[in-house]
Amino acid sequence: MKLPPTSSQTVGPFFHLGVAFLTREHLEARGITGEIVTIRGRVLDGDGKPLPDALLEIWQADAAGQYTAERSDWADGNSSPRFQGFGRAETDQDGVFSFTTVKPGSVAFPDGSMQAPHIVVTVFSRGLLKPLWTRLYFPDEPGNAADPILKLVPAERRATLIARRSGEGAGNLGENTLEWNVVMQGDGETVFFDY
């Protein structure tokens, strides 16, 4: 007999109290191989207003396309640097978040084809009774065209899932900084997934 899963409820505006201990905006660490990249953006509501109370969780494979949880060496006491793959970032008063990580490798799809490098992003906030699930893809990535998940997204909305190289006005952002916004509603609404 199946038990129904417990109902979701909002994180509310005060989640920092409980979850800040696990805030990890820097996933890169000395000894971890891969291209280091910073992703920066804002979370916006249906009026285009920034959310000062959003929480983003990211989950990704390492540079070789492996998830920590599928690695055989994760529990063997090996002290060599191990990429954690999990990050948690809060938005500030201007709705801005940022995290620095290594660019993930390609990950297999159940049919044996490959998914383009991507990061799974889960968004929580006051006013969200359950999280929003989305994905961040990388610009100029040849695998994007064949990515089996992107192919399920209407072509005109795919751009909402692909980060952009920092353009003019990016100020002191480094060349390995990408910009990617989460638009919860309205013009340019980010594609969200139903799993």
Partner: protein, 241 residues
């Protein structure tokens, strides 16, 4: 490149809609500008969603599950023991699940810069805790009973007493954030967040059960709150690459 076969992991079952709130629920005003308007895109579950972070005891402090012992003195309020089991949809224990909680103090005030409620802070109470479930999926927190508090959602709006829960299960799709309520709270019928869950039985499962068994005589009342996380479908899928 050496690859580890996915082995006996299949996708997750789809969510039973009535047991979960919709993104848009106008009685909870903040949903109206934050709920997506475009339809969600239904996608298959891949390695990216059926894996998830693994937390260890190094992430957790010794007394992180006792919210009454995080300061030099005892917090004011009614001591409570909140315990339960974390199970998957097949009733199997979820061991090693990270459970995070946060709550108000006994006066209904969060120790948070955004909380402007005119109620006293308690210097001996922070209101957050965390632990990993044991091999049988059990967790146990010692705390004080949180207070009700007013909010701005509608005229004379009050939140029932609740404790926020955040859980990481075996994979990303097991992720759950919810709120635990207390039996007999007169504010429950008026709370749009609680009532956003369409199915009455599912809603009722968010209310903890008074727990004689875990009540400590002369010390603290027990409340039981069992949690069910999404689990993988019964038929394993063998993966070869």
């Amino acid at each position: 490149m050496e690859k580890i076969a996915m082995g006996r992991v299949g996708g997750y079952g789809r969510v039973i809609p009535e047991t979960q709130p919709s993104y848009l629920y106008p009685p909870y005003a903040a949903t109206t500008r934050r709920a997506p308007k475009q339809p969600l895109i239904v996608v298959p579950h891949t390695l990216s969603e059926i894996t998830g972070p693994v937390f260890g005891h190094s992430d957790i402090g010794e007394s992180d599950n006792d919210l009454t012992r995080q300061h030099s003195g005892e917090p004011i309020g009614e001591r409570i023991i909140v315990s339960g089991r974390v199970l998957d949809e097949d009733g199997r224990a979820v061991p090693g699940a990270l459970v995070e909680i946060w709550q108000t103090n006994a006066a209904g005030r969060y120790r948070h810069r955004v909380d402007q409620h005119d109620a006293p802070l308690d210097p001996n109470f922070t209101g957050c805790g965390r632990m990993l479930t044991d091999s049988e999926g059990r967790y146990r927190f010692v705390s004080i009973k949180p207070g009700e508090y007013p909010w701005q959602n509608h005229p004379n709006a009050w939140r029932p007493a609740h404790i926020h829960f955040s859980l990481f299960g075996a994979g990303l799709l097991s992720r759950l954030v919810t709120q635990m309520y207390f039996p007999g709270d007169p504010l429950l019928p008026f709370d749009p967040i609680f009532n956003s869950v369409p199915d009455e039985k599912a809603r009722t499962r968010l209310i903890s059960i008074f727990d004689w068994e875990n009540t400590i005589p002369q010390h603290a009342l027990g409340y039981r709150f069992d949690i069910v996380l999404r689990g993988r479908e019964g038929t394993p899928v063998e993966q070869s690459r």
